[in-house]
């Protein structure tokens, strides 16, 4: 069985993001799964979706301060994905701002990650990555994480119990913190046609990938609800 997870807090994204993601999962993942949303506001979320309390996954403020309120932005995802309640299942954690374009059944069914599986951001220029190594650059993406929750225990322990204050000050995002500190504890999805980034694609067209991420949580790119093209129509069709 698969536990599909998402997080919604604050008011950046409305309940339609959760509901449409759920409906896409029903269409493209023909496996036995349960869909959970950890949120601080469950109003208007489809009652078929299991609600979790966001506060159970809230993350601390680092003692050193820094950007992003002194937090490792979206580190809640690590707390959620290794929650013991999901032991015995595989977990798929999806960002809200993505759309599923093709069937994921075989991919998810046949893949048994040994570690936490993230996606390598092939669209991020490798030269720029090397040039800015240790600073802003990051070549991995946590929008589509897949694993057995037991695999993530080590990351959770190191992230929250060892140098959290430093990570919050220096890297202030989950992706960057993983990039520079936990590469040994992750693996990359092997399907090169799994994910592409709308913000980083020149044509902004629907491409031949299984999932399109919008990755706008860092203030760059565009939000699905602001678009006036195929992506919005597609997303809206999952009401």
């Amino acid at each position: 069985m698969i536990s599909i997870l998402c997080l919604k807090w604050g008011d950046k994204y409305g309940p339609e993001y959760v509901n449409r993601l759920y409906n896409q999962c029903k269409e493209f993942i023909k496996l036995d799964f349960k869909f959970y949303c950890a949120t601080d506001n469950s109003k208007k979320i489809n009652p078929e979706i299991k609600i979790l309390d966001y506060n159970d996954y809230a993350i601390p403020v680092g003692k050193y301060g820094g950007s992003n309120l002194g937090k490792v932005f979206t580190a809640e995802k690590i707390k959620l994905i290794c929650d013991k309640r999901f032991y015995g299942t595989r977990v798929l954690l999806l960002d809200l701002d993505l759309i599923i374009l093709k069937d994921l059944t075989n991919y998810l069914n046949n893949y048994h990650p040994n570690k936490l599986a993230l996606y390598e951001s092939w669209w991020y220029d490798e030269k720029a990555f090397k040039r800015n190594y240790g600073k802003i650059s990051c070549r991995l993406n946590s929008s589509f994480m897949y694993t057995y929750p037991e695999n993530v225990k080590i990351i959770s322990q190191k992230l929250f119990n060892e140098n959290y204050d430093y990570y919050a000050f220096k890297y202030y995002s989950l992706d960057r913190t993983i990039q520079y500190n936990f590469l040994n504890h992750i693996e990359f999805h092997k399907d090169k046609r799994l994910l592409y980034s709308y913000s980083n694609s020149k044509s902004k067209r629907k491409l031949n990938y299984k999932v399109c991420i919008f990755n706008n949580s860092h203030g760059k790119g565009e939000d699905l609800h602001d678009l006036k093209n195929w992506a919005y129509d597609y997303w809206k069709s999952y009401d």
Binding site: Y64, K127, K130, R131, N132, Y166, F169
Partner: protein, 241 residues
Amino acid sequence: MIIGKAMINHQPYIENLDYFRRLLDCFRYINKAELGKTEEFIASFSPNQFQSKQWLMNKIDELNLISNKTKVAVLGCKFGSVLFPELLKRNVDMIYGYEMDKYVTPVSKMLFKKFDNELYCKIFDKVKFIDQDIWVKRPRYLDETDMTINTSCEHMPPMKYWSYYKYGTYVFQSTNTDKTFSGSVKVGHINCVKNIDDFQSQMHPMLEILWSGEENIVYPANNKENIETVYGKRFMIIGRM
């Protein structure tokens, strides 16, 4: 070496030539290995680098803090392009350079590696680069050192939070510049300070401050009047634990 103020002081020609050859080797290596570090390597020899490192060395000399027995840890050392030759000129016993950028350390190692068959390169036995984030775990070899230099404080949290202090002398530098001379954002400057008081507030309470001060960062003339341009400030604190 005839680049900048720091290296002008009468280096024997043969040593200059050797360092120059090493620089060429580094450029060749950066290019061949596609490390993407050409601009950063060039910038490590910029006039303000010479100015701030010369300022640091002058103060260390004035305070008589260095001898041929001194073992120095340099935190966030990048290539060590300017500071390390200055320390080697003073015949320090050993330099440990710590740098977390894995695309930088191979270049640094090449710049200071020992060539056994060259008479004038024995000093390079005295340099060791360690590819390590000095905030995540205790820096290797730190217990062997008696002086710690960190000229990259703007790239890391306030040093009062650092967990690995030991007995010895400490030299810290930071800056108030979060933009480049041309106005674009300085990538990685996550902890600029406003002034020397601000910088002192970031020091560990047990650090006995021996000297502190500030210096204008001056860019060379780029105009007909030949007037140097003040771009920002660097701050320095020298202390003892």
